[in-house]
Symmetry: C2
Subunit: 306 residues, 2 copies
């Protein structure tokens, strides 16, 4: 591997940025990585665990001289950060973000990017339910997709270099339009997260079933929902607020289908239920064939001793 961007600035030091740091180290992809986080606690933790070649106390110190600036904060604050760093960006630098929504980020970050600086929005589709500077690990992006969503009139060379950078960190890349990105992500990620949060909230709220019972008997299904519902609250709040349109569209479809199934249950229409449940099996087979999950029979089980 070789250096792709000599000097990199990571803005925000959570799960994604810390994983990027370790992936860059693994691949020798940068000479010097600057880290910045708004919280002093986070900066101290980063210094303690060696996250970043240098951890600085201001945004401006982080981005000065950087060949690549990575916005890795919740998407709700990216516009403000872009505005603040804009005057200090090196001519010829590239700015990327790693937000889960793209149209809003392009609208809010794009206008601040000065001429001579390239902005290439990205969305690495990888994560765990853990957050913070200690959550990262070098292999997070291995064999995962990073969607690259170029702005209008993007420099093809800058886009290609960003793709090469993600590939060097282990990811596959695909270029997508912003609106389509936001719709795809509403389906495969955003709405599933929202309904998992909701189901866990319902369980917690139910007076006739104790918390202890919910925890103790938490079965396959619900246990996975609790894992999803342990994801970072600020990140997800911003996702829903900034991908409002697609989220509400898909939620509408979801509610419609759920009502149809509820009606089938109420009226005892076993045929409809069976047909629906059979149909959904096919998608699972496709995902396994695409190598994006494992078929091991350990679903929801803590300890498989074969």
């Amino acid at each position: 591997m070789s250096v792709i961007y000599p000097r990199v600035a990571l803005i925000g030091l959570g799960l994604i940025a810390s994983s990027m740091f370790w992936a860059m180290k693994r691949g020798g992809l940068a000479d010097h990585v600057m880290g910045y986080a708004r919280s002093e606690d986070t900066r101290e933790t980063a210094r303690r665990i060696g996250l970043g070649d240098e951890v600085v106390d201001t945004l401006v110190d982080a981005v000065r001289d950087a060949d690549l600036v990575v916005l890795a904060t919740p998407v709700g604050v990216m516009g403000r950060i872009a505005e603040e760093i804009a005057p200090h960006l090196k001519p010829g630098a590239t700015v990327i973000d790693v937000g889960s929504v793209k149209r809003t980020v392009i609208e809010e970050v794009g206008p601040h990017i000065p001429a001579g600086v390239q902005f290439v929005p990205c969305h690495p589709m990888a994560g765990t339910e853990h957050s913070g500077p200690e959550a990262g690990f070098a292999s997070l992006f291995d064999n995962r997709w990073c969607l690259v969503v170029p702005v209008e009139d993007a420099d093809p060379e800058a886009v290609a270099r960003v793709e090469a950078y993600w590939q060097a960190m282990g990811a596959n890349t695909e270029v997508m339009e912003p609106e389509h990105h936001d719709l795809v992500c509403a389906v495969v990620s955003h709405v599933p997260h929202l309904i998992a949060y909701t189901m866990v909230g319902v369980a917690d709220d139910l007076r006739r079933v104790s918390d202890q019972e919910v925890i103790k008997f938490s079965a396959a299904g619900f246990r996975d929902f609790t894992r999803i519902a342990a994801s970072d609250p600020t990140m997800w709040r911003d996702v829903f607020l900034t991908n409002k349109e697609a989220t509400i569209e898909i939620l509408g479809r979801f509610t419609e289908e759920l009502m149809a199934l509820q009606r089938a249950i109420r009226t005892g229409d076993g045929e409809q239920l069976h047909a629906y449940f059979t149909h959904t099996r096919a998608i699972r087979r496709g995902i396994l064939q695409a190598g994006q999950d494992t078929n091991e029979p350990d679903f929801g089980r803590a300890k498989v001793k074969r």
Copy 2:
């Protein structure tokens, strides 16, 4: 370990029954296990893989002389099976079922059980998304809960023996009332399954997002839903039809909360969303503390190479 029921009959040879067989073999819990399945294909597979000391072609041959009869079919057919086997049950025998709902099973199976035979409804809360005779493995019940739901006027000795049997197969046991069982399971298992099925159905149905995209970019969250939605359609159809009341009650709560969150998204109420998402983290911590899941950061990832 020692023999708990000398002669055991497994009726239905799917994931649960086959796991019970391997767990009985592991623990030396039975001298002779008879297997029966309605489908000839399943019986042939069972014979080929050595599932059951003997696989027989009729229900009556399976249960004759059995000290323990295990109903391990979808719950919708258990009543009919109980009716058919009743005249052939050995005096002093015990009948258990392993269905995911209990009130309906008690109503439909209970009346057929002759005097001198004990009926002890059970629900082992363990499973994978795989089904069929080849899906089972000896450790499926290890450290999982088996809920035991005695009928009215149950013989305490018969109940204790059933508990000892599950414990010998690796499970923890807890005794519960039927109505409470069905409500708890609606919350921690049945409704989560229904909404996972629904979400996968919505994704599959959406014209503007291709199947290929859903499969390719299937992220944490959705990927887990597809795993849930690959579960056995007949089993789940019967669960919803026979636990109608609790399912519809919990679905109502779920829809209510989802609508509240949708409204918060539409109106841009970030505070409400953040508060909700923070709250749900606590349940996850409880589940981890209860040892019912792992905290490894491999959530939704196929291959973690650290």
